[in-house]
Structure formats: structure tokens, C-alpha cells
């Protein structure tokens, strides 16, 4: 063996082993001790991938679904929005963005003028499960149904008002039974501060995510602009399912058309990286 080949063998082998050792030590450290948070989620929050069982991939990963609380329907909490984890929220305003470290330039009066939006930053986000944000979302959907009913009562034969009511009832059923109850409710540069504001470890998990300022119209007219924050993504939102938990998530035999129902217990470690610690199959009601 030549000298170059010997160097390759030793240095290359050492590199692979050392890098893997560092990665695995990081995993062990993240999972050591008491988890930072433990959430019991369902198929509403951890969805099966569309590609499972096809494209030659035998692995299984669940996709975390999350939303941002909104103050009014229908946008973006409308059934017309198929993916409800993108969006802007009222709490992520200019003051909060500046607290997250963004330097927001003044916005032009003319919306057609080019301006420079600051790039995305990574911050800590608080994920709330089945808490006040979800309750508010339910209340909004119920209010919408009540408003549609009142509207129809004034003119019972109006087909358009009937359709509006049907749409509002559909949304309410979706929010109650199918949509995720996981909401991004807060953000901070410091994870400890965020945890101090949301101490319940069975309801709030702290995860890293990307936030980007976006110039949004203040009103529907679209004239004046203001800075709002947009949550681009949540880190670790694709959760690998180890072999030991695969059986609990498998589709029920003879029920191939129906999506499986399950409860997955997700732990979040020292670095905010999640992993599955339990999975149960749930019976269909």
C-alpha cells in the first residue's frame, strides 16, 4: 500500500469514526435526564406521510402539523387553505420582531416601492398543545356558525347564505375533530425565558424555528404596510418512527381506506430535538 493510501485509510477512517461519535454523543446528551417537555399528540398533530409505502422508502416519518393563532376567520384558518401551518399571527408584530433581534427598516408609504426585508432568523418557539389558542380557534369557528345561522334566519331561502352556513359548519367540524391542536404561541431568543413564561411541560414544548419579517397590508385595502412575523418552519417537524413503534401506527387490517388513528408520546430533549417515547393505536369512534 502506498503512503497516500495509508494516509487515506487512517485519516479517512478516523474522520468517519470521530464525526459519528460526536453526532451520537450529541444524541445521547439531548435524550439524557428528564425531558424538557412531553406531549401526547394524535394523528391530528403528527400526520402520516403521503408517500408511505411507495417510492421504495420503507422508513416512516410523521409530519408535525402546527398552526398560528389568528384573531378572526376566515384567513388563514379557512378550509380553503389546505396547509394551515404557514401564516402570520397577530402576536408576532413589529415590537416582538425587534425583541427577537430583527432590525426593521422603515416601510415606504408607496407599496410598489422596493424595500429591503431582513432575512430569516432562527429563534426559540413555544408550541402549545390543546391550550388556550386551540380553545380560541374553536370559539371563532362556533361564532362563525352562529353568525351564519343568524344571517340565514333573516332570509331562510337564500342559497348563498345556506352555503355560507354549510361552510362554517364544515370548518367547525374540522377544527373540532381533525385540525391540529398544536399552536406556535410565543417566540424568544432565549429558551429559558420562553420556558419561564410557559412552565407547563405537558402542554408547552420549546423548539427552534425560523421567523421572517414580512411587510403586510394594515387593512384589506392594501394601502399602508406594517411589519409582521411569519413562522417559516419548525425544526424537527419530521419525526422518525423507530421500528419498535411501527406496529401501533400501521393501518387497521380491512380498514385500508381510513387513515389510522393513534396517540404518540413525544419527548423534547435538552437541545429541543424530539423523539418518540410511546405510541398507541386508538379505536375509531
Amino acid at each position: 500500500m502506498t503512503r497516500g493510501a495509508r494516509v487515506l485509510l487512517l485519516a479517512g477512517g478516523a474522520l468517519v469514526l470521530v464525526v459519528n461519535a460526536i453526532v451520537l454523543a450529541g444524541v445521547a446528551w439531548n435524550r439524557s435526564g428528564v425531558p424538557d417537555a412531553v406531549l401526547r399528540l394524535s394523528e391530528r398533530e403528527l400526520a402520516m406521510p403521503y408517500y408511505w409505502g411507495v417510492a421504495g422508502n420503507s422508513g416512516l416519518a410523521l409530519g408535525m402539523r402546527w398552526r398560528l393563532p389568528v384573531s378572526s376567520l376566515p384567513e388563514p384558518d379557512s378550509p380553503a387553505i389546505p396547509f394551515d401551518h404557514f401564516g402570520r399571527s397577530d402576536w408576532l408584530d413589529a415590537a416582538r420582531l425587534e425583541a427577537l433581534g430583527f432590525e426593521l427598516p422603515p416601510l415606504p408609504d408607496d407599496p410598489d416601492t422596493r424595500f429591503r426585508a431582513p432575512p430569516a432568523r432562527q429563534v426559540w418557539l413555544a408550541l402549545e398543545f390543546d391550550g388556550s389558542a386551540y380553545a380560541r380557534s374553536m370559539r371563532l369557528a362556533e361564532d362563525d356558525v352562529a353568525a351564519a345561522e343568524r344571517h340565514l334566519a333573516a332570509s331562510p331561502d337564500d342559497e348563498q347564505r345556506k352555503n355560507l352556513l354549510r361552510g362554517a359548519e364544515f370548518t367547525l367540524r374540522e377544527v373540532r375533530e381533525e385540525r391540529t391542536r398544536l399552536f406556535v404561541v410565543d417566540a424568544d431568543r432565549d429558551r429559558g425565558m420562553l420556558r419561564a413564561r410557559h412552565p407547563d411541560r405537558e402542554r408547552y414544548a420549546m423548539v427552534r424555528g425560523r421567523v421572517r419579517p414580512v411587510a403586510s397590508p394594515v387593512d384589506a385595502g392594501g394601502g399602508r404596510l406594517e411589519w409582521r412575523g411569519e413562522v417559516l418552519d419548525v425544526e424537527g417537524a419530521t419525526i422518525h418512527v423507530p421500528l419498535a413503534f411501527r406496529a401501533a401506527l400501521a393501518p387497521v387490517p380491512g380498514d385500508a381506506d381510513e387513515a389510522p388513528r393513534y396517540e404518540v408520546t413525544l419527548a423534547f430533549g435538552r437541545r429541543g430535538e424530539p423523539w418518540i417515547v410511546g405510541a398507541l393505536s386508538r379505536p375509531r369512534p
Partner: protein, 358 residues
């Protein structure tokens, strides 16, 4: 003396081939005829040199071997691509049915096995092409290793992984003289430097592309690296560094010359675009000048391509809307003719006249 490494040996071999052909021509034209003893001595010396080069460096001794070598390079590249895809798809097909410990063991074991195979093949006579194939697969296995560990343990993405990939890619590239892996290593290093620059600028590392200036330091570093560290032992490596560096710098400048809001500079976007347009013309003209002066064909060609792109971009801005389309393309064609005339003039000046030869 020539022959200390493969590229020198190949160059000497090519010189010997050209010398022999020219000597035959001179003899046929009656200009020069070596005596039999001289001919025998030169032939014996050259044959001994060629035999040594073939034994030590696996060089191409004639044009046929050179043509076949090119075919072998393409075949080993395609074979490596196919083998890497096979490894990737094989793992994907079965990994779901393995426990975590088995998955991790396979992921760590695969690059180790391929590195050992590469080292074994690299040390064997005539094994260079197989070693290159194994090196590409070893790198693919290491990329799969770390990216799949990230998936299995839901790890947060980090730019440090780029350094690990770069280290192995460069190690394999220098051991096997493989430019493709040199490029892979340079991409990883440039990505890491750009990510660090972006992080210092306050952005998330994966958003590094939102500020093209993040790629400028990596480009400059890649361009000057072969000036600081001698690359003559490795055929084509210096040119690869230079072209990669120029691409990093000139592509970033090209983007900024059309998209000023992406700059770090706190000036009005139109002013930023204007500054970068001037810089783009200046840098590509500088690359042409440097390429001519140092006889770096790679630098000259890259400079010409970008000079033309910058020029055509400006023409588009100025005239696309106001000119009839035929006139616009006619102007482009006339510009190309003008550039050809300029280059022809330069070539005429650069070419040595009869007195230069003497």
C-alpha cells in the same frame, strides 16, 4: 525533473511522442538525420523513461491509450453515480425494517468499508480508475451516513456537517487525483464559509443564499489558494480552484447587479445594482487580463463568458423593450463580432513573429 508525479510523467511522455513524430518528419524532409548510434541511444533512453512512467504512474503511452483513458474516466464516473444510487436506494428500501442499532451500524460501516476499498485499490498497479469509482461511492456513503443519522434522531440541521463532508471529499480527491471530489469538497467548504458569514450577519445559516455577498470570501479564497499552496503535483487542480473561485465571485456579483435588495449594503437598491454592474465588468475584464498574462485558459474563458453575460444583461435592460426583437439580436451578434475582432487583435499581438521564434 519531470516524472516526480503522474501529471509531470504524462507531460514528458507526450513530449517524447511529439519529439519522435517531428524527428521522423525532419528525417523524411532531409533536414536532420541522426546517426544510428545516436538514434539507438535516444530510443533506449526514451523507452526506459516510458517503461518507468508506465510502471510508477499508469500513464497513457500513446493517443489510443489516451482516448481509452477518457472513456474509462467517463465509465468510472457513470459507474460511481449508479453505484451510489444503488447504495442509497438499497438502504431506503430496507432501513425501515431494521432496528436503530442496525441502521447506525450500517450507516457508519458503509463509508469505512468503501474508504478501505479505495485505499487498497489506490495502492495497486492499474487500479486508479477503480479507486476513483470507490472514492466517489465512499463520499456518497458518508453523505448518506450523516444525513440519515439526522433523520433517524430528528437532529437539528447544522452547517458543521459541511466541514466533515468537505474533509473527506478533499482527502479522497487528493489521494485519487479526482477533480470531481475536489469540486464536491470546495462546494462544501464554500457553503460552510457562506453559512458562517451569514450567521455573523445575523441570519439563519440555511438562509445564506439570501445575501449573495456571503459567497464572496469563499470565492476569493478558492481563487488565491493555488497561488499560496502549490498544486502542480495534481493535474488540473489549480484550474479547478480558479474556475470555482471565479464562479463563486462572479455569480454573486451577477445576482447583486440585478437584485440590489439582497445586498448587505445599506444603499438604495438601484445604486447597489449599479455598483455591482461596474464591479462585474471590472472583475470579468480583470479575469481576462490575468488569464492572458499568466496563460490561464480557464481564467480567460470564465472571464470572457461573464463579461459577455454582464454585457448582454445590460443590453437587455436598455434595449429589449424599445428595440424591435430582430434589431436587438442583431446588436448582440454585432457585439460578438466586435469581441472576436478584439480577441483576434490580441492574438496577433501575442503570437511571436519569425524573429520571436528565432
Amino acid at each position: 525533473m519531470a516524472g516526480s508525479n503522474r501529471s509531470d510523467a504524462q507531460r514528458r511522455c507526450d513530449d517524447i511522442r511529439v519529439f519522435r513524430a517531428e524527428l521522423e518528419r525532419l528525417a523524411a524532409e532531409g533536414v536532420l538525420e541522426l546517426g544510428e548510434a545516436q538514434q539507438a541511444a535516444v530510443k533506449a533512453h526514451h523507452d526506459a523513461l516510458l517503461a518507468g512512467f508506465s510502471r510508477d504512474f499508469d500513464i497513457d503511452r500513446d493517443l489510443r491509450a489516451k482516448t481509452l483513458s477518457r472513456g474509462m474516466r467517463i465509465t468510472s464516473f457513470l459507474g460511481a453515480l449508479a453505484l451510489a444510487a444503488a447504495v442509497y436506494l438499497f438502504f431506503y428500501q430496507f432501513w425501515g425494517w431494521l432496528g436503530t442499532a442496525a441502521q447506525v451500524a450500517i450507516l457508519i460501516g458503509a463509508p469505512l468499508v468503501m474508504i478501505a476499498l479505495t485505499a487498497r485499490l489506490a495502492g495497486r498497479e492499474g487500479g486508479a480508475y477503480f479507486a476513483k469509482l470507490a472514492a466517489l461511492v465512499a463520499f456518497a456513503c458518508f453523505v448518506l451516513n450523516l444525513s440519515m443519522l439526522g433523520q433517524i434522531f430528528n437532529l437539528a440541521p447544522t452547517d458543521t456537517v459541511l466541514l466533515a463532508w468537505a474533509a473527506l471529499a478533499l482527502l479522497l480527491a487528493y489521494t485519487c487525483e479526482l477533480r470531481l471530489l475536489l469540486v464536491a469538497g470546495l462546494i462544501c467548504v464554500a457553503g460552510w464559509i457562506a453559512a458562517r458569514a451569514g450567521t455573523w450577519g445575523g441570519m439563519y445559516w440555511l438562509s445564506m443564499g439570501e445575501r449573495p455577498e456571503n459567497f464572496l470570501p469563499a470565492g476569493v479564497l478558492a481563487f488565491v489558494f493555488p497561488l499560496l499552496v502549490d498544486q502542480r503535483r495534481y493535474a488540473g487542480f489549480a484550474a479547478t480552484y480558479r474556475v470555482f473561485g471565479l464562479l463563486c465571485v462572479l455569480l454573486s456579483v451577477l445576482v447583486l447587479s440585478n437584485w440590489g435588495v439582497a445586498s448587505y449594503l445599506a444603499w438604495p437598491p438601484a445604486m447597489i445594482e449599479g455598483v455591482y454592474q461596474v464591479l462585474g465588468f471590472g472583475l470579468s475584464a480583470g479575469a481576462i487580463w490575468l488569464g492572458v498574462r499568466r496563460q490561464w485558459a480557464d481564467t480567460l474563458n470564465t472571464g470572457v463568458v461573464f463579461f459577455v453575460i454582464f454585457l448582454y444583461t445590460k443590453f437587455y435592460d436598455w434595449w429589449w423593450e424599445i428595440f424591435p426583437k430582430w434589431l436587438f439580436f442583431l446588436v448582440l451578434a454585432l457585439t460578438a463580432v466586435l469581441l472576436l475582432l478584439v480577441f483576434q487583435r490580441w492574438r496577433g499581438r501575442a503570437a511571436p513573429g519569425p524573429e520571436g521564434v528565432a
